[in-house]
Amino acid sequence: MDKLMDNLTEQFIGTAKDLNLSTEYLIGLLGQVDIGLFFLNRQGIISGQYSASLPQILEEENLPDRPFLDILDGRIPDKALRETREYLDLMLDREHDEKTIDELNPLKAIEVFSKNESGLWSNVKNLCIAFRRYNMEDTNIALVGLIRDHTASVELAKKLEEFEKWSRKQMQWMISLLHIDIPLLKEFVAVIEYELGRIDLIIKSTQKGAEYTAIIPRLVRSAYQINSSAVILNLDFFTRETFLFKNEINELKNLAEPSGHDFVPIVMRLGNMHSMLKEIKDLMKHIKGLDHSLRTTRRFDGGLIIRLVENLINHLTETTGKKIILKYHDFDYLGIPFKYRQIVKEFIIALTRFVIEFGIESAEKRKSLNVNPFATIEIASELSNNIYTIRFRHDGNLIRIERILQQAVNENYKGTDNAPVNDESIHPGSEVLRLFLNPDITMLENRGTSEGIEIMNDFEIVKKKLKIHGGRIKVTFTSESFCEYTITFPVIGQSEPPAQNSQ
């Protein structure tokens, strides 16, 4: 018996030593592994032994004897926590095949958040947490848990995906921008920046409900300017956004009493345009020589206006179904005195819009009238007797002068304060011109397009600018077919034109 006891004692001591060695070995092993290794008992509580990196990965110090789910509570979405509980219950039930239920593990790729002392989220990690059954009979170790921190690789993959998407978009935009002449691009950015800033200011300073309706026309005007500028330059990616923006503002006009809520679509669209403009400006920095070309050469300027008009015609003919040929062989942009170029450009663009919108018929209509389905717009210029002349003519008949005059008579049209009807200094054709160019004309407003109203507003501005520059404008009819608009400027060096001839 004594011998048996001694043997048993010896065996026990030997086993205890082995156990100690095993424990030390285990502790040493756990201290070396980089992954989070831990053990759960059947109640889901973390045992006292785990890898040294586990607290750092989970960002939790006191881990022993804590329920694993408590550590995740408040740090992962509620749904994921619920699913984890269900998954662990299944893992602890031997009746279920481990490989099958592994599909149900919601922690295979999970974001785990950490909070600081103030309760604010300080950190987020992308972890992969897996479980394996160990010894279902052992109450101390039922499951082995493994945690890998994939934060760095997930962040990298995410950044790579975002970068690829961003690069593709930037390439598409860059290709569009490279086709645009630099001065035009700079002007475009300046106009958009100005108008977006203007809209921001209008919205921010209008917080009383009664003023909401009053600001809509101002928003319409800015939206029109933004859209027009993008259309002329054929920037498809921008015009898509500006077109939707314009439509959303137009919808506001239909509301009797708009509320703050009703402006939400406009504000969201505005946000998109701000972002796009920022990206365009960033792209422009990459276009070589942009910052140095503050003023271009005359030769370079030469084809700009014609390209703008061509772009505008292409866009408007697409949307209106009209067909137009542009002739400009007698147009010498370089011959225009430099100080008049801007106003000439604005005049030609405003007139092109006006004529296509109101003056030229659709191709089908023209065919039915036995005229060439392709309408003609001609732009010409000449310098003689110290007067520079720009001629713009078209062969549309949509608005016939007789009808306009008759309608004006019927509506008791009396003219406006700043353009007296009976002024003898006004040369022939100016009556008609006033009818064309005056935004008070109800017949045009009755056409029902805000686009039409904005075109008229453009004309009003151009007319005023012409006056400031000492320019004159008249309308003549060279034949049944053609309607011609002429603007004239005194050549630089000549004094202001006589007051009685100004228009």
């Binding site: 917080q207 409900g209 509320s259 402006f263 939400v264």
Partner: protein, 148 residues
């Protein structure tokens, strides 16, 4: 951020005032937050993460919160703690609605209350923030939403 998100936050906040005070609040026109700070005397901030990340905060003047607290608590005098609790409760209500609307795939932080007129509440630079002016009685507060 989508249009529906902004509508949701606006409705959520208006509903709070309607249900708690039985007096309607009005929203002004939302606008994009610029560099100018939008901060009043007390601010309740909540963080949102998960499928989409961002933060939302409500900032109000002391006078408004005192008025609101007096109405809710039915007392003529309210303490600073009551005022702080109130801004936290408003932020909590909004966060509760977010959790309900966006589902349990979203993480909503516990509201953090900032007392005093802070210099600014910084939002992420790469995500646009929208400011929604809210008027209740004659008091103005702001709800600022910044969500991917």
């Amino acid at each position: 951020m989508k249009e529906t998100d902004l509508h949701f936050f606006i409705d959520s906040t208006l509903n709070y005032f309607d249900e708690v005070t039985r007096e309607k609040a009005q929203t002004g026109i939302p606008y994009i937050k610029s560099q100018d700070p939008v901060v009043l005397d007390y601010t309740g901030i909540i963080g949102i993460s998960g499928k989409r990340k961002g933060s939302v905060y409500i900032t109000a003047s002391q006078d408004m919160l005192i008025n609101l607290a007096q109405l809710i608590l039915n007392q003529s005098s309210v303490s600073n703690e009551d005022v702080k609790d109130l801004i936290g409760e408003i932020a909590n209500t909004i966060s509760g609605n977010v959790r309900q609307a966006y589902g349990s795939d979203f993480m909503i932080s516990v509201p953090v209350v900032v007392e005093g007129h802070a210099k600014d509440i910084r939002m992420p630079d790469d995500v646009q923030a929208f400011v929604i002016p809210i008027t209740w009685r004659s008091f103005q507060s702001f709800l600022v939403v910044c969500l991917e």
